[in-house]
């Protein structure tokens, strides 16, 4: 071995070791964050934050089916009791109000600081008279049971008033005191975990706790249904892990078998695996370094790299075969094959570079992964394989046959050239005809969650939240007090909408935690004992409730005048903690976002409500109205547009690169035509079967261009050399078969995101090869004729 060889090997091993070291310290995540964009505008940031780590990410939706109604409600009560006793759950809701006793006590204690009715007017003789009359008017009605026990402490009915204005978030129907679905066939519960939504191990534990608790309390025949972000995240992590392993394994086996068949040489097989393995290791390490962590999905995509990286090895192993005139095969390959492979690599990098700048972390990771992986695979092929197998693969295997089949292909396909052109035109027509249904507009198309799981989620969500959480107002600020004051400005306007019936209700943190300024104003409205007594005497004169019975009231008011203010920190140690956490989100950087979920009036469509709210809140800064479904669609459309632009830029870069390399317009056109055809035909195929294209299909098309450019460049090279090297053709065919097979496998994946890529690349790559062969030039054809096989 020469010194140079030793140095190369040492460098390669060193780089691999470094990559492995990075990987060993890598945090692998599998939450849904990869499918949420990273840097949207402020209103979208509030939404994305909420989806990522807000209460939604910690909310579990639970249904209980089967059995009798009595069994279901008994199971709901027993399950809720167990879950409430478990420290993993911050809040367990099933419609059972007894769980709110602690909130009730807290409300009673703090009523004079949080009641919206408290102001100076309320505590004048006239105000007291009115308030007491209002309270008395409930007595002697069924509602009286709520008022009576507190009559002497709270004659002005502040508790009642607070309860009235607190979101009567409709909630589901009730039967036997617990929530049931509209058809009554399901008992419903909703929980929030204490652990963060992103902590999937903790979420997996809460799911296990819920299942065990259910198994322990449920009558036979009852079925537990779990849904919500935690189940999605945990299930898709398991699925991604499982499928990534299975795909990597089957991919490796199929590829290995194929290469073994083609080369009939274990050594060649071993050599072919080197670039693939190096590529994957380098890709993972690069993503880890750039993003500080690797998403499980990226590993799933990694398996797609097997298909492309193995091509480099195949090109080398076949094309470098045999020494001639004392020159080892690898030296010849460096002149002949490598420049084309290198150009193919550069075009691929160019395409994926566009992805690396995507706003979706998942796509950006995929871009970086592919670039690093392909470069590493190509470098390994270029520098390491010549040391391992200086003359390519010694084995014969099926290679002869492959070469012959490829020759036949190159001979026959040009006859179909006109057919291809016609097909291409037809494809354009189809795309124009279907242009409005060509693209997907739902973010869910990016999600790894299955359609059935989404359907169940939709049902439970509909029952439990009845559309209420679909619109919310987000108010942001840099500190808590400032944000609370902004929220109060918003609620003042929202109250107007509620009065007009344009809004049924809303929820706001200031119901429980008014700004310090507001608390101060309310405190200032409370008169001292002597004044209050005098006014009460006047207010109750001749009434049914004499002032002498209201000592407890006077004492409570006095106590409120000196009680410590309610602070966010103190709230966190009370029964109100879950409510506060849901309505006020404090980011690590101190940035505060308050969320005000809106309750729509019945029979008013969401967009009208949103428009009315936007109108009412006009002029308030740092306030955004979010229609969640609409916002997500808009977000997705934005990123689809972005991805389309990036793909176009990438494709343009590919063309420029090839133009620079070929320096000939006719050759450039000849190279681009098959790629364009492959892309158009694939897209038209999807349009014809009615599958709209999403961002991941776009990634697949990019891969088709990247892979296909190798075919058409080699065809161009052969045409230019006026040679039809059987080995080169064999390597192209073999490379194509491996691509089609490996992406065919991926197309079968249960993860929609992965299968989308597979379903584009497998047919697209095949079409690219066929079209490349079809447009092989007349000189290539005459070459074939001159050297009959």
């Amino acid at each position: 071995m020469t010194r140079r060889a030793v140095l190369t090997i040492a460098l390669w091993l060193g780089a691999l070791a470094a990559c492995v070291a990075v990987i060993l310290h890598t945090r692998f995540s599998a939450d849904l964050s990869a499918f949420l964009p990273a840097a949207p505008d402020p209103r979208q940031r509030a939404l994305v934050e909420q989806l990522k780590s807000g209460v939604a990410a910690r909310t579990l939706l639970i249904g209980i089916r089967g059995g009798t109604a009595e069994q279901r409600s008994a199971a709901s009560l027993a399950l809720a009791e167990r879950l409430r006793a478990d420290a993993s759950f911050e809040q367990v809701l099933n419609g059972d109000l007894s769980a709110f006793a602690a909130v009730g006590r807290w409300t009673l204690e703090h009523r004079y600081l949080i009641s919206p009715a408290v102001n100076a007017q309320r505590f004048t003789a006239e105000g007291l008279h009115e308030a007491i009359d209002d309270t008395l008017s409930l007595l002697g009605t069924p509602a009286g049971v709520l008022v009576k026990p507190l009559l002497e402490r709270d004659p002005t009915g502040e508790v009642q008033r607070i309860a009235e204005s607190a979101a009567t978030r409709g909630g589901p129907r009730k039967h036997d005191g617990v929530w049931v679905s509209k058809d009554g066939e399901r008992a419903l519960l909703m929980t929030q975990s204490r652990a963060d939504g992103g902590d999937l191990d903790a979420q997996a534990r809460t799911l296990a706790v819920a299942r065990e608790a259910f198994a322990a309390v449920a009558a036979p025949g009852l079925v537990l249904e779990l849904s919500g972000a935690p189940t999605f995240a945990v299930d898709s992590r398991a699925q991604i892990q499982g499928e990534t392993k299975a795909l990597a394994l089957t991919g490796t086996l199929v590829m290995g078998g194929l290469l073994l068949l083609a080369f009939a040489s274990l050594r060649a097989l071993g050599a072919a695996i080197l670039p693939v393995a190096s590529g994957i290791v380098a890709g993972v390490a690069a993503v880890s370094l750039v993003f500080g962590g690797v998403h499980g999905m990226t590993l799933g995509f990694g398996t797609t790299l097997i298909g492309e990286a193995v091509d480099y090895a195949i090109y080398y192993l076949i094309q470098a075969r045999g020494s001639s005139g004392g020159e080892p095969g690898w030296r010849r390959w460096l002149h002949e094959g490598w420049p084309t492979v290198r150009l193919g690599l550069l075009t691929s990098v160019c395409g994926f570079l566009a992805l690396a700048f995507s706003g979706f972390p998942g796509l950006a990771q995929l871009g970086v992964f592919s670039i690093a992986g392909l470069i590493a695979a190509a470098l390994t092929t270029r520098f390491v394989l010549p040391l391992a197998l200086p003359n390519g693969t010694p084995g014969i295997g099926l290679r002869r046959h492959l070469g012959r089949w490829a020759q036949r292909l190159v001979r026959l396909m040009p006859r179909a050239r006109h057919a291809f052109t016609a097909l291409g035109l037809a494809a354009v027509a189809v795309l124009l005809w279907r242009h409005d249904q060509l693209w997907q507009t739902e973010l869910s198309s990016l999600s790894p969650v299955s359609a059935e799981a989404l359907a169940l989620d939709e049902q439970l969500r509909d029952e439990l939240l009845s559309g209420d959480d679909r619109t919310m107002v987000a108010v942001s600020g840099t500190d808590v007090e400032g944000t609370l004051q902004r929220v109060e400005a918003v609620t003042q306007r929202l109250d107007g909408l509620v009065q007009q019936g344009q809004l049924a209700n809303y929820d706001a943190i200031t119901r429980w935690l008014p700004s310090q300024a507001m608390q101060q104003r309310r405190r200032a409205a409370l008169p001292d004992a002597a004044v209050l007594r005098a006014r009460l005497d006047q207010a109750t004169r001749g009434g049914s409730l004499p002032a002498r019975r209201l000592d407890a009231f006077v004492a409570d008011v006095q106590q409120s005048r000196t009680a410590p203010p309610i602070l966010l920190d103190s709230l966190r140690h009370t029964a109100l903690a879950p409510i506060a956490a849901a309505l006020l989100v404090q980011a690590a950087d101190g940035h505060v976002t308050a969320l005000l979920p809106l309750v729509h009036p019945p029979a008013r469509d969401g967009e009208a409500v949103q428009a009315a709210v936007e109108q009412a809140l006009r002029g308030l800064d740092h306030v955004h109205v979010l229609g969640i479904g609409e916002e997500l669609r808009r977000l997705y459309r934005h990123y689809l547009g972005e991805a389309q632009a990036q793909a176009l830029v990438g494709a343009f870069g590919v063309v420029l690169l090839m133009a620079w390399w070929l320096r000939s317009l006719p050759r450039l056109l000849a190279v681009c035509k098959p790629l364009l055809l492959a892309v158009l035909l694939t897209m038209a195929g999807f349009a014809l079967v009615g599958v709209p294209l999403g961002i991941l299909h776009l990634v697949g098309l990019l891969l088709v261009v990247a892979v296909g450019s190798n075919y058409s460049l080699f065809m161009d090279w052969m045409r230019h050399q006026a040679s039809t090297d059987e080995d080169t053709l064999a390597s192209l065919l073999l490379a194509n078969i491996t691509i089609v097979l490996s992406f065919g496998l991926i197309a079968l994946s249960q993860i929609p995101a992965l299968s989308a890529i597979g379903r584009v690349v497998a047919p697209g790559a095949l079409l690219a090869l066929l079209a490349s062969a079809a447009y092989a030039s007349p000189s290539a054809r005459s070459g074939v004729a001159a050297t009959p096989v």
Binding site: F100, L139, T141, P142, V145, G177
Partner: protein
């Protein structure tokens, strides 16, 4: 936190169809008589006897019913307020303040509203969903007693006693579980009371 069960005692009446008294007058016959009425208006005087208060509370105002499901109570004294149910929607107004509630979110309130609407429209099925009805008396002078079936409602409402003459509801007495009681006397507004 149960805010939504306000103004549950409502009633009304109206109309005067002349169906002759039969020998056996039962629940079905009463419902048949009541079902003939489509709408009506009445004045009411309500007295509430509440154990913790020194005096009887007194309210006056008007009631109106429009089949199948609109029921309104407008209190005039001592202070104006209104309680209007239409379908599943309840609107409460007092002074400037308006509150709107969906009845099915407040099951006990919904049951009480059904008691009144069911009686006024002669909808026996709706009544039997939440109450055990018994009828005494004759078509000319009857008493319908409604006892809640559901345990939760029974914890609040002991029974509802409705006295009537032919198709007019004249007195509604609500007895609460804690012994408090409300008695509402109803006087149909004559000129609007008849339907063909």
């Amino acid at each position: 936190m149960r805010a939504d069960r306000r103004r549950v005692c409502i009633v009304l009446a109206a109309g005067a169809a002349a169906s002759p008294a039969r020998a056996a007058f039962g629940f079905d016959e009463l419902m048949g008589t009541l079902a003939q009425r489509r709408s009506g208006e009445a004045r009411f005087v309500e007295q509430r006897f509440v154990s913790v208060l020194d005096q009887t509370l007194m309210y006056t105002g008007t009631l109106s019913f429009t089949a199948p499901d609109r029921l309104a109570r407008h209190t005039l004294t001592p202070r104006p307020e209104s309680f209007v149910v239409e379908g599943n929607q309840l609107t409460l107004q007092r002074g400037e303040r308006v509150r709107r509630l969906a009845l099915d979110n407040v099951p006990e309130l919904a049951a009480m509203v059904e008691a009144m609407r069911g009686t006024l429209s002669g909808d026996g099925t709706a009544l039997k969903r939440h109450f055990k009805p018994t009828v005494q008396g004759t078509a000319a002078r009857w008493t319908l007693t409604l006892v809640p079936i559901e345990f939760r409602l029974l914890g609040v409402v002991r029974q509802l006693r409705i006295d009537g003459q032919r198709s007019d509801v004249r007195v509604v007495e609500l007895q609460l579980a804690d012994g408090d009681r409300s008695v509402m006397s109803i006087e149909p507004v004559a000129e609007k009371s008849r339907t063909p």
